[in-house]
């Protein structure tokens, strides 16, 4: 039971926005669908610990059987991805990934760079490490963005419509690649999307949020 949301209720001021009861096993993807304004992104922010006024959350969020409700966001080990790659423009591709790696993941800087190069060549981005992020194409940026999230060794990954800005040809490809990576690393994920095809490709439980 990797991620479990037990009687999770999110409210805006006094009004209940949504309630969810769900578990996501390791390597599985939970898909959350619903119209705009139903609170899909808000749910992800609650899990990531980045929910602010006027929103509030009650219920229990557990990762690997530990309650994380009170943990600050940066200690939760919950990776977050958005529809934009959001690569940091003041860093190179390799620096973006290095920035995400836990402090003591490798014995020395050299080993770190080696690991990054291995990751990059696995997705056909070898020799791109020293490039500025703005020189990359949209598809390349998406791949680096996921590599960056994976490099932080997250316990859970949250995907906020990550494929919606990619053009059709690229979308299917990036999508199946993303799910493969998550599955290979046994990471539970929550996907928020408008797109039925995303939900089908994710292959896990689907929750429909109703508008309120």
């Amino acid at each position: 039971m990797a991620l479990s949301l037990e009687k999770l209720v999110i409210s805006r001021a006094e009004n209940v926005l949504l309630n969810v009861n769900a578990c996501v096993e390791k390597g599985q993807v939970l898909t959350v669908m619903g119209p705009s304004g139903a609170g899909k992104s808000t749910l992800l922010q609650a899990i990531a610990g980045q929910l602010y006024e006027p929103f509030s959350v009650s219920g229990i969020i557990k990762i690997n059987n530990n309650v994380i409700n009170r943990k600050p966001a940066h200690l939760r080990k919950v990776g977050m991805m958005f529809q934009d790659a959001l690569l940091f423009e003041h860093m190179t591709v390799a620096e973006n990934i290095a920035f995400a790696m836990p402090k003591n993941s490798h014995s020395n800087p050299h080993a770190r760079m080696e690991a990054i190069n291995t990751m990059l060549s696995a997705v056909e981005l070898e020799s791109m490490g020293q490039r500025g992020v703005n020189t990359l194409s949209g598809g390349q940026q998406s791949r680096v963005s996921l590599l960056r999230t994976l490099a932080s060794a997250p316990d859970v990954v949250l995907l906020d419509e990550p494929f919606s800005k990619l053009d059709l040809a690229l979308r299917g490809q990036i999508r199946s690649w993303t799910f493969e990576q998550l599955k290979a690393r046994n990471i539970p994920a929550v996907l928020v999307t408008h797109d039925k095809e995303d939900a089908i490709a994710a292959g896990g439980q689907i929750i429909e949020l109703s508008p309120c």
Binding site: G49, H74, F82, D84, L86, T92, G132, R148, T149, P154
Partner: protein
């Protein structure tokens, strides 16, 4: 904890703004009520006010302050909105913005002196008129500029200086992503309903920006009613505006005049208050007219006239700026320049040599003070803004905060600065630099905050969310993600702070007791001095100094991010002073 630290910094910023202003007000109210132990006045009474109101010219002074202050603010506002109506959707907007931005950082004193060079009876325009066939050379004293007893020259100079500020404030509001989207929608709806662009602007766009720039406009109004430099340089002395009189009384050798000055300072607060009331009255009247015209449904709003005025204002600025540059540069290198000639006779760099020698210390003082003030203001503002993101405050505390932020701009400087000096002399008599630093901070922090707040609002917070989700602490997110990504905006705000510190006249003069000479204090002093040519050099240096900061702000990010791809460099091209990333 970083979050707690930022909250402490937020409090420091608030206290830094409020304590000097409030202490300063107390420091003039007591002497105004007759309590001033330093000269043996120990009892409370209203005698000071009786003496004050018995003065012959007092109501005339009050009138001049009100007339120049309210008049110039309304004129500048009208001009600003007409200009925006003309250009808000055109590709010229950026050019107009670029033309007017330097005015924001051009010190008031320098602007007033510059106008002397072109508009005075021996200025460039007078020379042109004589050459153009007007045989009668204007006689000094009979012309309206400068020193006219009605205050027209002061009013004109104030409006010319404030119009760019109002425009830039409006543009910075209009460039916020959410506002921009909303306004674009309004305009589209307007034009689909058949309203002309001008009509759409005045009926749909203007009302929604006005509410958002009201506070800065009120600050402009208070400033205009209580400014010292401009009436001192351009105004009549028979009588002067109230603020100038206050300054003379405070600086009078006879210490008992301080009581009168304090009373007048309290009166100045009242005058600025009345100006605010007048402004609100005009605002309500305009809103009433606006509502009326909304229902009528006229699709055109004197479009041609509006555009004519818009282009007229831009041409006026272009002409003024180019003649000012011509006049001061020529004067600064002129050996001799007799009246109707357009070119000086002979070129010399003697004045530059003299001026640079005389200005060495003031220059170092200005730079040192400016760097210190602007850098620390920047840090305080950054932590304060960060504290708001880490723990958003409730709405009512927010509005309380923004009022305290504007407090130093809403209370006339000439009123509270003297009281502040009185307190400072009680507490730490010899810490002149510290006092001057505080007096500058009071004026620099609000502007740095305004400038940075825009950048913070525009910052895509998902970058911070991603960094946090990668396991970075709030401090790391702030230091390693936000600061580098907002570097442009930070440097621009820093440069703005530097420029504002450079331009401070009264705070420097008073807090330092005249012991710290800066470029601005020297320039104002030089106007009453003997050499016009030396003054010209001072104006050039005064105008060029703010550029130092902006040059750094424009080039440094490019150098630091050399290898980070092309599109960043593209973004570095920034014209607007108040615009962030």
């Amino acid at each position: 904890m970083f979050a707690q630290f930022t909250r402490i910094m937020r409090w420091c910023l608030l206290l830094l703004l409020c304590i000097p202003v409030l202490a300063g007000l107390v420091g003039v109210i007591f002497p105004a009520l007759g309590y001033f132990p330093a000269i043996g006045a120990n009892s409370f009474s209203l005698d000071v006010f009786r003496t004050l109101f018995a003065l012959d010219d007092i109501w005339h002074m009050v009138w001049l302050s009100l007339f120049t202050g309210v008049g110039s603010t309304l004129l500048a506002m009208a001009g600003a909105f007409l200009l925006l109506a003309t250009f808000y959707q055109s590709s010229w907007l950026e050019k107009v913005q670029g033309l007017l931005s330097p005015f924001l950082v051009f010190p008031h004193a320098a602007a007033a002196i510059a106008l002397l060079f072109v508009l005075s009876p021996s200025g460039i325009f007078a020379r042109l008129m004589v050459l153009g066939g007007d045989d009668v050379p204007p006689v000094a004293g009979s012309s309206f500029f400068p020193y006219d007893e009605f205050g027209f020259s002061v009013l004109l100079a104030l409006s010319l200086k404030e119009l760019p500020f109002i425009i830039l404030m409006a543009l910075s509001v209009m460039s916020q992503p959410l506002v921009k989207k909303k306004l674009l929608g309004y305009v589209n709806v307007g034009s689909s309903l058949g309203y002309s662009p001008t009509a759409s602007f005045f009926k749909l766009v203007a009302p929604s920006i006005f509410t958002q720039i009201k506070l800065p406009i009120l600050a402009v109004l208070v400033f205009a009613t209580s400014n010292v430099e401009i009436p001192l340089i351009l105004g009549s002395n028979n009588p002067s505006t109230l603020a100038v009189a206050i300054m003379h009384w405070f600086n009078h050798i006879d210490l008992s005049m301080r009581l009168l000055a304090s009373g007048a300072a309290v009166l100045q607060v009242a005058v600025s208050g009345v100006a605010l009331l007048l402004f609100f009255a005009v605002e309500h009247f305009l809103m009433y007219l606006g509502k009326q015209s909304l229902i009528k449904g006229r699709r055109h709003g004197a479009d041609a006239l509006v555009r004519g005025i818009g282009y007229g204002i831009v041409s006026l600025y272009v002409i003024l700026i180019s003649t000012v540059i011509y006049a001061v540069v020529m004067y600064s290198i002129a050996k001799h320049w007799s009246f109707p000639a357009l070119l000086p006779e002979g070129v010399t760099f003697l004045h530059w040599g003299t001026a640079l020698e005389a200005l060495a210390t003031p220059l170092v003082n200005s730079l040192l003070l400016g760097m210190l003030v602007s850098t620390s203001a920047m840090l305080l503002v950054l932590f304060t803004l960060e504290s708001e993101q880490l723990k958003p405050a409730a709405r009512h505390t927010n509005s309380a905060f923004s009022i305290s932020l504007f407090l130093p701009l809403l209370v006339p400087g000439v009123a509270f600065l003297y009281g502040l000096v009185w307190f400072q002399q009680l507490v730490l008599q010899n810490a002149v630099w510290f006092h001057t630093y505080i007096a500058h901070m009071v004026y620099v922090v609000p502007y740095v905050f305004l400038s940075m707040a825009v950048a913070y609002r525009k910052f895509d917070n998902r970058y911070a969310m991603v960094a946090q989700s990668l396991g970075k602490t709030p401090w790391q997110v702030f230091y390693r993600i936000k600061l580098p990504l907002m570097l442009n905006a930070i440097l621009v705000a820093w440069a703005l702070g530097l420029a504002i510190s450079f331009s401070q006249y009264l705070p420097t003069l008073l807090a330092s007791g005249g012991t710290i000479a800066t470029i601005t204090t020297e320039a104002v002093a030089s106007v009453s001095g003997s050499s016009t040519r030396l003054t010209a050099v001072y104006v050039i240096i005064q105008g060029a100094m703010p550029l130092i900061g902006f040059v750094i702000a424009w080039y440094l990010p490019g150098v630091l991010m050399k290898n980070r791809g092309a599109s960043i460099k593209e973004k570095n091209k920034r014209r607007a002073v108040l615009h962030g990333t």
